[in-house]
Amino acid sequence: MSGHSNRIEKPGFGLLIDHTKPLSFTFDGKLFNGFNGDTIASALYGSQQVLLSRSFKYHRPRGALTMNGLDANTLVQVADEPNVRADLHPVAAGIAVKSINHLGSLQRDAFSVMDYFSRFLPVGFYYKTFFRPAGIWKYFERPIRIMAGLGTLDPRADHKYYDKAYLFTDVLVVGGGSAGLEAAIAAAETGAETLLIDENSQLGGSLLYGRVSDSREAADTLRTRLVAKARGLEKLTILTSTVVSGLFSDGWAAAIGGNRLYKIRARQTIVAAGSFDQPLVFRNNDRPGILFATAAQRLMRLYGVRPGNRAVIATSNTFGYEAALDLLDAGTEVAAVIDLGTTSGPTVDAVRSRGVRIVTGSTLVDAKGYLRVESVGVAAITGQGKTAAATDWITCDCVLISVGCSPALNLASHAGAKVIFDDAIQMHRAVSPPEGIALAGAAAGVWSPARVAAHAKATGSAAARLAAGEPGSEPPDADDPTAAAITHPYPIFKSGKGKEFIDFDEDLTIKDIINSVKDGYDDIQLVKRYSTAGLGPSQGRHANLNTIRIVGAVTGKPLAAIGTTTFRPPLVPEKFAHMAGRAFEPVRLTSMHHRHQELGAQFMTAGLWLRPAYYGSKDDAARTIDDEVRAVRTAAGLIDVSTLGGLDIRGPDAAAFIDRMYTWAYEKQPVGRARYTLMTDMSGVVIDDGVACRFAPNHYYVTATTSAVDQVYRAMTWSNVQWKMDVDVANVTAAYSAMNLAGPKARAIVQTLTTDIDFSKDAFPYMGVRTGTLAGIPVRVLRVGFVGEAGYEIHCPAGYGEALWDILMTAGKPHGLKPFGVEAQRILRLEKGHIIVGQDTDGLTNPIEAGMDWALAKKKPFYIGKRSIELQAAKGITRKLVGFAVTDSASPVPKDCHLIIRDGEIVGRVTSVVKSATLGKVIGLAYLPPTMTDAGQRFEIRVDGGAMVPAEVVPTPFYDPQNARQDI
């Protein structure tokens, strides 16, 4: 067990922890105690473990700064999760927490030697080093990569569940402090559906740990009253432990709560996000134990942890004195209050009356101690940023800083508010917020409790009225003279020895910012990029203002003229998992899917569909596929083709419409017949094919390829709108199941079933189409032959698909029927020389190149792409799709897209290739120059490894060239 307890056993301390529920966890392998409700950092602090991490560049020891998840000092690794903010993450029994960014132990980090080399790592050093002489980078890269980065990603980490949710509200209030609560209550009471979001587990903001008019009791009473009222309002929804990470146009907000990303749509948004404490800049101001006064108050009030035994407070406002009172109440000795100015008032008097030494007009100028502050040097302030020599060293083990704030304007800025520096209050202020955005509380520049309440209430009710569409309900002006007493104008004191940190994340000192300007980067945006100020995990919350002050001092410009860097979402770290959320990846299954599973199908994707590739073990795929091919060629096979697109084209103009959409002629197509369809786009490129079945003079059922049917449907509906034809187009793909019964036994099989369709050869010829019933199921039957055998493509309403499959499989069993998959179909169709659009064509293929000129109607005046195709025909083609066979049976089998080489030049490519068991050779389709397309012409294909495989042009179809088998 490590450390002695530093807990406060008094009423009014430890609001969030349950003393009756102790727990243990490990930090760097050592056992620590905590309580239920603790964060990792509070539990460690409670056990005197103040050192939490090492800094990014110089590996300086660091401890908690904000106790509110706003700094990088508390980043730790928890199991497989990197970059966990220890001051926000609840501690849990048994968790293993590790510190990060050190070599060796946290206490004895070997990388801390970097601190001694800081003079060799000036600002922007990485722009000037590591690239000369040529090739030197590779010697730097490995050690830099070892040293860089915080935390460790575990690629074997368990998949965790993240998701997203939409929320809609009239008024969104960001921040559950006193201003946010008042605004939300007012909005809800005015009648608006209101959503209040706060990042902490308990509502109240600074009321949870701070004081109102010197009184802790007053703060607690106010919080209790406001929270009770808020929770009692029906129209007010409250989300705690959720942080709004970005505001966007049109009232959109993003928020992170646990493993969920909320996408929020609000008519009005009130930003009551409070403010960020600003550091006092002096030598060694980053030592563990030096923390913001509010962080110390959080430790005491929320977690019952004493920040130290002997404290020094550096302040320029009453908040520092209030913290002194809290320390005294908690039992911590307050060695001194160092007041940068001459703060006065009852709070100061109260501190003084309790015997605390108060030193005015002075500041801290140095700190001693390494792993924890041991003493601080105090000196009188002699001018802006100037002091006398330190004459007074005060022993202490904690230092509280309260020298000013910066309003949390990030979110308002995301939404489009302009941020300006207000000299009167020495803080930034948001002006001209866009419609739908208002600010309240400290974010609006309102600080005194009475004014906060009045302003927030008025802002809340105005937002509610605006959300309801009431005109003239503008939010009130934010004007609070007390704001001028919050922030010291220049809490930056250069020692001459360095190590006065401006940006704790990036280890940037006063000198680094000054040198950035001296290097010529005098615009604040350039300073940010050159120095990296504000680029760390804190995103400049504690660095921006002081950086601006230094730039102003060096350039002589007023701060209002310096401007600010740009605030960009997200406000807090968002994980990729948050953005990914729960994956929604639709999968389409045919009606027969479960039957395919039962038959042992191996599935492949086709768009969103899953299709059986073949039926059997992966280990025996080639033989299985050959068996399926053989069954179709010798007996019968059944393939699920439900994924094919189906479009019903109905209306008086149906034939004329089809005629314009497809390249062939359809107006004279007889009812009861199917005709091949080829679709081209306006540039004459082949985009789809299928068949058009004419079931009635004004009804066509058109099939389309699986992947292109949505595109075809869009093209048809778009064209129909343009042409205003009297026709209706309906995509009925999902409404129909379809299966292709193919093979010499196909007719015999269907003829065993009860049907009102005459399946005899003469009554139902090749390319005929029929409607009727088969085994009691309504069907559309197409006698088409993609695989080159007699067969029937049977379409039925999807709900009947499985039953029809079962019936056909049963009826076919005595005939040797086997199910076959897409792999067998690819072989069968290639043996027949049929192309697959998208595989044997590409984004430039025209019908002439693809050898489809027979499907181009020459006489009709128009089809989409006709003009382009005619121009291409007149110009002549540069390639042509031909069949080929590999001439050396011992050669390796080429693959799709292997190149055809002649005289060292690429002259073509293979589009499809298979080893045909039926034909006993390797066959395929390939693009070749027109001069090489005569049957018998030889060429070579370069295969994997560079070997050249001889092949020759072969006429298609390879199989059954007379087309006799599909017509039996």
């Binding site: 929320l167 809609f168 439900s642 309403p797």
Partner: protein, 229 residues
């Protein structure tokens, strides 16, 4: 009692419903799940597969007058649903398209009559669509229904903002869907029509999204009980 395989028409969800503990009852030419859920759960949050119930679509430029001529209760107001005298619903999706949903009793007689009374030869510019087969039909019932939708749909479907008989044609769990609110016996009820081929995926998404609210899978009998009050 029956089993789905004894019927020629089958719900693509039967394997999932079987896992949920469904028993089966015959409803015309299809088996419908039974024995799932209860009224109290359905008033809180429940998912029910209504896919076995009859439904029919009509599409075409004369659809609205053609339906009015046949006595269907509707107005030419897109994205509005209209309750029919028999308890069914007519969803007006556009000036040229409607979907008719049967009453929860499952009587498809009226829809069959509408289908059979149509003929291509008549030349009416309205054309039937097999919505039984193209679209699965789910009901999400209960006070927490909007919370479920918040996780899978970007449209504001809060009960206060999406009143009874509203329709949203939108994306739900990345799937095109028609969402209709048509309360059942005072219980908020959202009817979703979505691609039947994706129905197993969609059902999984609904179950997953509903889990945190303590949802259940219900059956037609439960909704009928809600309806009868």
């Amino acid at each position: 009692m029956t089993t789905p395989d004894l019927h020629l028409r089958r719900s693509p969800l039967r394997s999932a419903l079987l896992k949920a503990g469904a028993k089966w009852e015959a409803l015309g030419d299809i088996a419908v799940s039974a024995g799932l859920g209860n009224e109290e759960a359905a008033r809180h949050l429940a998912i029910t597969d209504l896919s076995p119930l009859p439904r029919l679509g009509f599409k075409g430029r004369e659809t609205i007058p053609a339906m009015q001529k046949r006595g269907v209760t509707l107005e030419p107001t897109p994205n509005r649903a209209f309750r029919q005298p028999d308890g069914g619903l007519c969803l007006v999706l556009a000036a040229s398209e409607v979907i008719l949903l049967s009453p929860l009793g499952g009587d498809g007689g009226r829809l069959k009559e509408l289908h059979d009374s149509w003929s291509l030869e008549a030349g009416e510019r309205t054309y039937p669509l097999l919505r039984n087969d193209s679209h699965a039909w789910f009901a999400i019932t209960g006070a927490k229904a909007s919370d479920l939708f918040a996780k899978i749909c970007g449209v504001d479907l809060r009960l206060s903002r999406f009143p009874d008989l509203s329709i949203a044609q939108t994306s739900v769990a990345k799937l095109s869907a028609i969402v209709t609110r048509a309360d059942i016996g005072g219980t908020p009820a959202f009817h979703i029509l979505a691609d039947s081929a994706s129905s197993l995926y969609f059902f999984d998404c609904l179950i997953d999204a509903a889990q945190e609210f303590g949802s259940s899978v219900a059956c037609l009998d439960v909704l009928r009980s809600l309806e009868s009050g």
